[in-house]
């Protein structure tokens, strides 16, 4: 067990790279997912942009 005799230590040690691999697989499997937002999003974007323009104009 990589030189460990205590199973709890071994599990903690091994779970660190395993959880990293899990994150890598999760990222790769969902690489192209999540690009679409729900309806109505574009209105939010327009309002956001308008507000930004107003704020920029107000800046000294």
């Amino acid at each position: 067990m990589l030189g460990f005799t205590d199973i709890i230590i071994f599990i903690g040690y091994i779970l660190t790279p395993v959880s990293t691999l899990f994150c890598i697989f999760y990222g790769l499997l969902n690489w192209n997912k999540g690009i679409e937002e729900k309806d109505g999003d574009y209105r939010e974007e327009i309002r956001w942009e308008k507000e930004e323009m107003e704020l920029i104009e107000k800046l000294p």
Binding site: G3, G12, F22, G27, G34, W48, E52
Partner: protein, 526 residues
């Protein structure tokens, strides 16, 4: 010295250029606070990682690992599983969508708008403004200890000089400046830590051999630790012993769970354009944490073997009890001077990226959450950027004072304190706010206050190490702590977080939900 000056100059030149790039591209309030909500996934992951893992993780927790052994690898696991996967998937995605729908610029603003309460935003801003400097100074102490060991200059001088360099570029760049520099800083950190990890295991005779030899070094652990349940560098502490409670509740669970309520990290989710970017950030962030904390913890433990072979002492004995000096001394003693200089620069990088993100969160708390909400009653003004900078200057001074006042060997403890406080105060309102439409304003208010005050009360009167240090309990009651074993070694968050969560659910059932319009707006993208 020549190496150090050369590397620092090269490093500073790149940082100044990158900050300038950030400054030039910062035109609006949204740019300053959220980097325009269009951040690349790799930039996001490196900036999240380098904000999350800093000198406190490498110096403070590296030192703690040297003391408690491989038990700390459980924290490295939680850092990745909870701090990356759970934080990104369970919290990050909804935070991004809700942040956008509610036009939130800071973490307190997200909470405040979700519950339609100025008090919640103002109070959260207050918690951040007054307590985050404890964490920022922990990071500052970490780097200053290294400068002290390497350059052999007084700790106070090291602290002042470093804070001055750090302050300069934070005030200019805004979050874009912080994000650009984080990528550069994160990259150096990974390269340096991988080299340290590999060379440490090689000099200890290989990974398996190092672990085996560490098992035979239990006799060098200080007697009081053995008495309190420490069973060796490669064994988990004795179940139910003071060391077991302390390591598990304060360092492993306290920091492992507390990360979910970290405002300077949660604000990062709102910088992304879509969930796709968030998904793509996950692998890079996880690898960053593995290469930094994972390696730092393993190196920390292994220093015992290397110091023992060299001096016949354990790491904690070599540094005279100051855990924060273990990693700096190990690097300084066993690596060539040019590498020590690079290591120092990479630590400076880590400290600067984390500190700057925190100063940024602190500045935003003052301007956006306290100034606009509590003082101007919700009115938005163009002076926000200026007030943010005033907030940053205030937090830099607070950090300086705390950095000078805090006792030796407290980097990991101060970090755990802030993580625990944020976890207890924010996590229930944050989690239920994202997932439960019936979560009420009154519940969020009560839960925030319950988490905050129960955490502080437990710290001051029950948790022995802090209660003893603060001395308030002794002043009032004549004893160090009001409770006996095991309660005096249970971390405040383990008590305060369940309490604030239960309070949240109970109060939600008996109070009026937030206005339907607000809920509809908050959940419009979810």
């Amino acid at each position: 010295m020549l190496y150090l000056i050369t590397f620092i100059l090269i490093y500073l030149a790149i940082i100044i250029y990158l900050s300038y790039l950030g400054f030039r591209k910062t035109v609006s309030v949204s740019d300053y606070l959220l980097a325009g909500r269009q951040v690349h996934p790799v930039i996001m992951s490196l900036s999240y990682g380098s904000t999350y893992i800093s000198t406190s993780a490498i110096i403070g927790f590296g030192g703690i690992s040297a003391l408690y052994g491989f038990t700390m690898s459980w924290l490295a696991f939680l850092n990745i599983f909870i701090g990356v996967w759970l934080a990104f998937v369970l919290f990050g995605k909804r935070t991004r969508k809700m942040g956008k729908a509610l036009d939130a610029h800071t973490f307190p603003e997200l909470l405040g708008r979700r519950y339609n309460s100025r008090f919640i935003q103002g109070f959260s801003g207050f918690v951040i403004l007054f307590f985050m400097p404890i964490y920022t100074s922990a990071i500052l102490i970490g780097i200053s200890r290294f400068i002290e060991v390497y350059l052999n200059i007084p700790f106070t001088t090291a602290l002042l000089v470093f804070l001055l360099i750090n302050a300069c570029y934070v005030i200019w760049g805004g979050l874009k400046g912080v994000l650009y520099t984080s990528v550069f800083q994160g990259t150096i950190m990974i390269v340096v830590m991988v080299i340290v990890g590999i060379t440490t295991y090689i000099s200890a005779g290989g990974m398996i051999n190092a672990h085996r030899e560490l098992a035979s070094l239990t006799h060098i652990i200080p007697k009081e630790f053995i008495f309190n349940g420490h069973r060796g560098f490669v064994s988990f502490p004795e179940f139910g012993s003071p060391v077991w409670w302390s390591v598990l509740t304060t360092f492993i669970l306290g920091v492992g769970i507390g990360v979910l309520g970290q405002p300077q990290l949660n604000v990062r989710f709102m910088t992304l354009k879509s969930d796709r970017e968030l998904n793509r950030s996950i692998p890079f962030t996880a690898m960053y944490i593995l290469f930094t904390t994972g390696i730092a913890f393993a190196v920390g433990v292994t220093t015992n073997l290397i110091f023992y072979k060299d001096l016949g002492l354990s790491s904690i004995e070599v540094v005279g009890g100051n855990v924060d000096k273990i990693i700096p001394l190990y690097i300084d003693r066993f690596y060539p001077q040019w590498f020590v200089a690079i290591f120092l620069v990479s630590l400076m990088a880590a400290a600067m990226s984390a500190n700057s993100a925190q100063f940024h969160a602190l500045g935003a708390s003052l301007s956006r959450d306290i100034f606009e909400q509590a003082i101007l009653k919700g009115k938005s003004v163009a002076e926000t950027t200026i007030v943010t900078r005033i907030g940053i200057v205030f937090s830099i001074f607070a950090t300086l004072i705390l950095g000078l006042l805090m006792p030796e060997g407290t980097v990991a403890k101060a970090t755990a304190f802030f993580f625990g406080l944020c976890g207890s105060t924010f996590v229930p309102s944050y989690f239920f706010g994202l997932y439960w439409k019936k979560a009420t304003k009154a519940a969020a208010k009560t839960s925030l206050l319950t988490g905050f005050f129960s955490f502080l009360l437990w710290t001051v009167f029950f948790h022995e190490s802090e209660a003893k240090m603060l001395g308030i309990c002794r002043f009032i009651f004549g004893i160090d702590t009001l409770v006996g074993h095991p309660f005096h070694v249970i971390d405040p968050q383990i008590i305060a977080l369940p309490l604030s969560s239960i309070v949240f659910v109970i109060v939600s059932f008996f109070t009026r939900p937030v206005d339907e319009d607000v809920i509809r707006k908050a959940f419009r993208h979810i």
